[in-house]
Amino acid sequence: MKPKAPASRRSSYRRGSRRTRSTYLTALCLVVAVSAQHVAAQGDEATGDATDLQVLDCLVDRALPAQPAVAAEGGFAFEFQALAGTAVDGRSCTVHRLRNSPGGPPTPVRWTAGDDLLVDKARLGRCGDEADCGWVEVARYFQGGFGLSDSTLGYGLNADQFTSVTDSLVAVTEPDLGAITASVGTEVDTEIQLADGSLVGVAFTVRSRLRREDGGRLTLVYEVETTTPALQRGGRLALVWDAIAVDGGVAAADADRDVPFLGLAQFARDGRVDIGQDTYAIAVAVDALEYDPSAVISVVERDRPSQALLSVPMPAFLPER
């Protein structure tokens, strides 16, 4: 049993306890403040709010994760990140980006959120150093918002040898089908390796637009804008957009080499073509329309239309069937 302290000392303890209590309180406040800051920092790290980043035409508000994360298993290693914010034209936007790690092996990657495709890249090529390892950037511009969703990164052999499950930011497109104009678009900036081993830088924006003209006439426009020579007239690359293509474009390998879209469906073939400096657009007059939010566009070599080098989501307004 501990002996009791003398009364004088007990009073000194009491006097001291006020000081001690205030010290404890100050320390406690400090601990709470530091913890709160730490938790907030962790939250920022996880969700990455309010960044000054602009990727393609997307002004980034949120990044998930705040710094690019690394998926590494079985000798493969690459970085990935989902971003979301407001496009320069005021619509919503999301960006999904990937890049191989320096010295990493060629890596087929498929990034999905449930049944929705985010990015399917035939391979993230080898790269020597940080500067050499370019991002595969896929930006989507749309009316609507974005939400959190589970996503799965499959990579390695058959793009499903290894999987990494992660939260991601996904687009929730809500175009106003009754408006005078509406538009959804996808922009891609990446490097693609062709069958002969050559690397081609590819940058393009694809849009699906609807336009109501005077008198209520409804026109759907399918448009690609690119400065990439391989995607322009006579180029080696083409696009297969499943919303406006038949047979996935496979049957159209020897089609007109000036058309950037392969295997066009009849309604698109019947449309009016407008060719600009860096644009190719097909305008189709329709009576009524519907919206396909799950359509996908793929970059292919014209001579190998069945082998997609890159597939990304590209919703489309379509004539009502």
Partner: protein
């Protein structure tokens, strides 16, 4: 030779024999220790051999499952053909068919095919293993080709794996039952021979074996006597 001499020679012989035994047991112990030390490495190699990382791909597993099913079917037909399925009516009528040669060949061919296909399959699966490719960098172009993400490359890799899996299964499904059936037939033939020769044939076989054993023991006794004489001569010299 005095009694002391005899005693000392006996002692020397005892010490020499003990030393020999200790040396022998130490040798055995050393070998055992070396083998035990190697055991984890052997287990690790077996694990690596039977669980290639490529098998983590569900797409590849589906292809290999298809190959295994087709290979098993081929193996069954192969075995049935060699096991005399076409002569089943002879057996059903109570007759016998000669098939031991065919079964022996099928056992050898089937199991060798299975072993070779397994080796090739393991090598094939290793071609997309980053660790393996780091060790054998000459195979990097093959790795790059298979992981190019192209549909053709993917289908080719999966198809080769499926064919090799099929070959393994065909070999095992045909070869293993052929080996068992061959053994059974050989045993039955021996029993038939014994029955044909009558009850004395077993006694005769036992006598022959005993004769052989007696000769072996005599040879051992002679060798032992010679070695004792030589040792005494060495000790005396």
């Amino acid at each position: 030779m005095t009694v002391d001499d005899k005693r000392s020679k006996g002692l020397v012989r005892l010490v020499s024999r003990s030393y020999g035994l200790i040396k022998k047991s130490l040798g055995l112990y050393g070998t055992a220790v070396a083998l035990v030390q190697l055991a984890p490495a052997v287990v690790a190699l077996l694990v690596v051999a039977f669980t290639p990382s490529a098998l983590l791909s569900p797409t590849l597993r589906r292809w290999m499952l298809l190959g295994a099913l087709i290979g098993s079917l081929v193996g069954m037909l192969w075995f049935a053909g060699r096991a005399g399925l076409r002569s089943i009516h002879v057996v059903l009528r109570g007759g016998t068919i000669l098939r031991s040669d065919g079964l022996g060949r099928l056992t050898r061919t089937g199991l060798v095919t299975a072993a070779a296909a397994f080796g090739l399959l393991r090598l094939h699966l290793a071609l997309v293993d980053t660790t393996f490719i780091e060790q054998f960098s000459a195979l990097t172009p093959v790795f790059d080709f298979y992981l190019s993400g192209r549909t053709f490359a993917g289908i080719l890799f999966n198809a080769v794996a499926a064919v090799l899996t099929g070959a393994v299964l065909a070999g095992v499904v045909a070869g293993a039952p052929a080996a068992l059936l061959g053994r059974r037939e050989a045993r039955r033939r021996r029993e038939e021979d014994a029955a044909r020769k009558g009850p004395l044939s077993a006694v005769e076989e036992a006598l022959t074996a005993l004769e052989k054993a007696t000769k072996a023991l005599e040879r051992a006794r002679d060798d032992l006597a010679l070695s004792v004489i030589e040792r005494e001569r060495d000790a005396g010299g």
